[in-house]
């Protein structure tokens, strides 16, 4: 599965995009975020205030309780500030 990071989430993780294999125990976005936080201090820091983080599954906004299912691409980013 492909993971993408944008704006300060990208700066904090130090990663723009990566391909990962998720543990079977990860079924929802919230569980994915918990798992990401175990991957090192940069990820723990980036996802520390996880309620601020926005998530998109296959380029559509989702809540943290969304199930990952057959997602190909999951993106993490701060609240948007365009316009």
């Amino acid at each position: 599965m492909r993971l993408l990071y944008f704006a300060w989430v990208k700066e904090k993780t130090g990663v723009a995009a990566e391909d990962v294999t998720l543990p079977d125990s990860v079924a929802t976005v919230a569980e994915l975020i918990s798992w990401l936080k175990t991957r090192g201090p940069e990820f723990a820091n980036a996802f520390e205030q996880s309620d601020v983080i926005r998530t998109a599954i296959d380029q559509a906004h989702v809540q943290h309780d969304a199930r990952i299912g057959e997602a190909r691409e999951i993106a993490f980013f701060p609240p948007v500030t365009g316009g």
Binding site: F6, A7, P79, V80, T81, G82, G83
Partner: protein, 153 residues
């Protein structure tokens, strides 16, 4: 129509492209967002976005506006990359028979764009760089359209 690009836009040319030769349009509203220097605190603004999702969200928002208001034409253009104070960031155009629809649809497009299109602004100034924080006012502005729709149903 929607467009995400680095290049600047020409508002007059965009209106002409949407309306030339048409005689069924009575009202055209444009909104242009530009970079403010905030009294010298901002020297540069960089816009990052999520290619693919950005276009999908803008198309979704535009389709929603067209389903809620009788629009003859609509356009969203959003720039990315690094911009200087005074430069254009975003352009929304709505055309309708009457002014209420054109005004409301343009406001709707901007409110939704501000809360759902995956763009992020980073400001550079004398004190360094910083990511712009989202405004709760933008969420409130978007929520009022949902409330109005629910109330109408």
């Amino acid at each position: 129509m929607i467009r995400v690009c680095q290049e600047d836009f020409d508002i007059g040319a965009e209106i002409a492209a949407l309306t030339d030769g048409r005689t069924d349009i009575g009202a055209i509203v444009t909104f242009t967002g530009t970079v403010r220097d905030c009294g010298g605190a901002i020297t540069e603004m960089t816009l990052e976005h999520y290619p693919g999702m950005t276009e999908a969200e803008l198309e979704r928002i535009e389709a929603q506006a067209n389903s809620r208001w009788p629009l003859q034409a609509s356009l969203i253009v959003h720039r990315t990359g690094t911009l200087k104070p005074g430069e254009n960031i975003v352009l929304v155009i709505t055309a309708s028979e009457h002014r209420e629809a054109a005004f409301e649809a343009a406001q709707f497009l901007m409110d939704y764009l501000k809360t759902s299109a995956p763009f992020w602004k980073r400001e550079t100034g004398p004190d360094g760089r910083k990511w712009v924080e989202a405004k709760t006012g933008d969420e409130t502005a978007t929520a009022r359209w949902r409330d109005r729709k629910n109330a109408a149903e």
